[in-house]
């Protein structure tokens, strides 16, 4: 069949498909129902059938060596059809529930080796510093400069009016913004710098463990432990766990490049990343919770120390049992 005859024969099909594509795309935004879409099409068949017909014409045109402009036109139609047919249709509420009840705890348990390694890399320096400074108090000065140490001391001085960060209660919202931006950005950096053979994540885990341990050790040794623990107790469970998960995700991405197994490195990377996405969503969620608690609860000096500590312990129990017990019923 000559090209002109081919065009004359199927022109109306293509134009109808174009119209249908626009309707489908518009339907996505205005959430038009399937019935409206069917009315708009001149070809009486489902979208996927219409799309396959276009693909068929494109393949024919290629094989018969028709002109470039027709090939481009049909390629464009197929591309757009492909985009419409294979767009992801997700029910956000369903996905959220699925994520909270199953995906997130399951993903954490699936990576338990990495989560354990990241925990060790974070908590060993942390508690090492706490114990080290208890025995050799001057060790704190090998991690922080004297100015930094005096500013940490000022923040948690039991004699100060506001324990925690020095500020008025109306600045809670300001600090909320600050914590969100700062903590989540660090979480993201911990994940993505893992691509350098896991080195970035390793650095962030150890560095954060060391600095937190130094601050904690120094304050405890000074006898400032009540304001410090009172401040950290509430959000610690969420924030520290999220840091560990970020490290685990980063290590996973790094290891996928170092030890790709039987995959090509690029495929191994893409696979590891797609498996880490659940952890990344979880990290965002946990750091949001942590920022909220830190800004509106932890910094509230009027709450009793005992209440803060028991809420902190409660938070740890909730977080741990969430990851141990949830999502057991169904396998991924």
């Amino acid at each position: 069949m000559k090209q002109a005859a081919f065009e004359a024969r199927y022109r109306s099909t293509w134009l109808a498909f174009e119209k249908r594509l626009n309707l489908e795309l518009a339907g996505r935004n205005t959430a038009a129902n399937e019935g409206d879409l069917a009315l708009g099409s001149e070809v009486d068949c489902s979208f996927s059938e219409a799309y396959r017909l276009i693909c068929n014409h494109y393949a024919l045109a290629q094989q018969r060596g028709y002109s470039l402009s027709l090939l481009d036109y049909l390629n464009d139609l197929s591309m757009r059809g492909h985009g419409v047919l294979y767009r992801s249709k997700t029910n956000f509420r369903y996905r959220l529930i699925q994520f909270l009840l199953f995906d997130f705890p399951q993903a954490v348990r699936a990576e338990w080796k990495l989560v354990l390694s990241a925990s060790l890399l974070f908590y060993l320096p942390l508690f090492g510093m706490v114990i080290g400074i208890y025995i050799f108090p001057e060790l704190a000065y090998s991690v922080f400069s004297p100015e930094q140490i005096s500013s940490i001391e000022a923040m948690y001085d039991p004699g100060a009016e506001h324990v925690g960060r020095e500020r008025e209660s109306e600045t809670d919202l300001a600090m909320f913004g600050f914590y969100i931006r700062n903590n989540i950005s660090i979480g993201f950096q911990t994940v993505v710098t893992g691509i350098i053979g896991g080195l970035g994540s390793l650095f962030y885990l150890i560095y954060n463990g060391l600095s937190l341990g130094t601050a904690a050790g120094h304050l405890i040794q000074l006898g400032y432990h009540r304001p410090f623990i009172g401040f950290v107790a509430g959000h610690g469970a969420f924030e520290l766990t999220a840091i560990v998960f970020a490290g685990a995700a980063g290590l996973k991405i790094g290891f996928s490049l170092l030890f790709p197994g039987r995959l090509r490195r690029i495929n191994s990377l893409t696979l590891a990343v797609s498996e880490s996405v659940t952890l990344i969503y979880g990290i965002i969620l946990m750091l949001l919770i942590a920022a909220f608690v830190e800004a509106f609860w932890s910094s509230n000096g009027s709450i009793d120390y005992a209440i803060k500590v028991s809420v902190g312990i409660g938070a740890w129990c909730v977080v741990l049992s969430y990851f141990v017990f949830l999502g057991r019923r169904r396998e991924t």
Binding site: G65, Y66, L68, Y86, A174, I180, R181, F188, V192, I196
Partner: protein
């Protein structure tokens, strides 16, 4: 090697042709987005400054969202395009040419943190230049491509045009060359058309504008018009 066409086989058994976008045009798109973000941030800063200290908190949150999620929100909700990409006629798609998803868009944009290192996207630029699909690290990790989103092609289906048979038998490639010539004529200057058509003077036996007209008629004949 310099060809930026990239073909993707679909489950329907056809090969879609994509044109991947290089560092220059993507850099420009990024600058446009940076400018837009800067202006919006400035406006938000003015707006929130009225609210005092609490406004600072809202401003920081907005800054966080703009830093990490501006591209994600646009790419997912606006057909794979940020305003900068829209202006440069680019779009982000998954490796298999399907629309970009939340996860892949999130990943490719989080990895900007790596692409940026050590400064001004040097890592991203190097990565872009060493693979055939112009992927920065974020694209490699997320499995995404940045392609040209060609403006909608409208086909001219004109059927009545003068046609004549070719004076000698032509094989498929020769036929396609002549048809391509007739289709690309509007993009060529009159002199260039004649110059190209004159190459075939020994075959057609005509010169300059007559040769061009003859070629167009032969092309019409090949396409089956009469």
């Amino acid at each position: 090697m310099l060809d930026t066409r990239h073909s993707i086989e679909t489950p329907e058994g056809i090969a879609l042709q994509l044109t991947v976008a290089g560092p220059g045009v993507r850099g420009l798109a990024f600058l446009v987005d940076l400018l837009i973000r800067g202006v919006v941030q400035l406006l938000l800063a003015l707006l929130f400054s009225v609210l005092g200290v609490a406004g600072f908190g809202l401003f920081t949150i907005s800054m966080f969202v703009m830093e990490w999620f501006y591209p994600v929100l646009f790419e997912v909700l606006w057909n794979g395009q940020t305003p900068g990409k829209k202006l440069m006629e680019l779009k982000v798609v998954n490796d298999n040419a399907t629309p970009v998803t939340w996860s892949s868009s999130l990943v490719r944009n989080l990895f900007r943190g790596v692409d940026f290192l050590p400064l001004f996207y040097i890592t991203g630029l190097v990565s872009l230049c060493v693979n055939s699909q112009f992927k920065r690290v974020g694209d490699l990790a997320a499995g995404t491509l940045v392609i040209y989103s060609s403006p909608r092609k409208s086909m001219q289906f004109d059927s009545d045009a003068p046609a004549r048979p070719s004076p000698i038998p032509l094989d498929l490639q020769e036929q396609q060359t002549i048809v391509s010539f007739s289709e690309r004529m509007p993009q060529l200057s009159a002199q260039r058309r004649c110059e190209l058509a004159n190459i075939l003077q020994p075959v057609i036996g005509e010169k300059d504008q007559q040769a061009v007209d003859a070629l167009v008629e032969i092309a019409n004949g090949i396409r089956g018009k009469r």
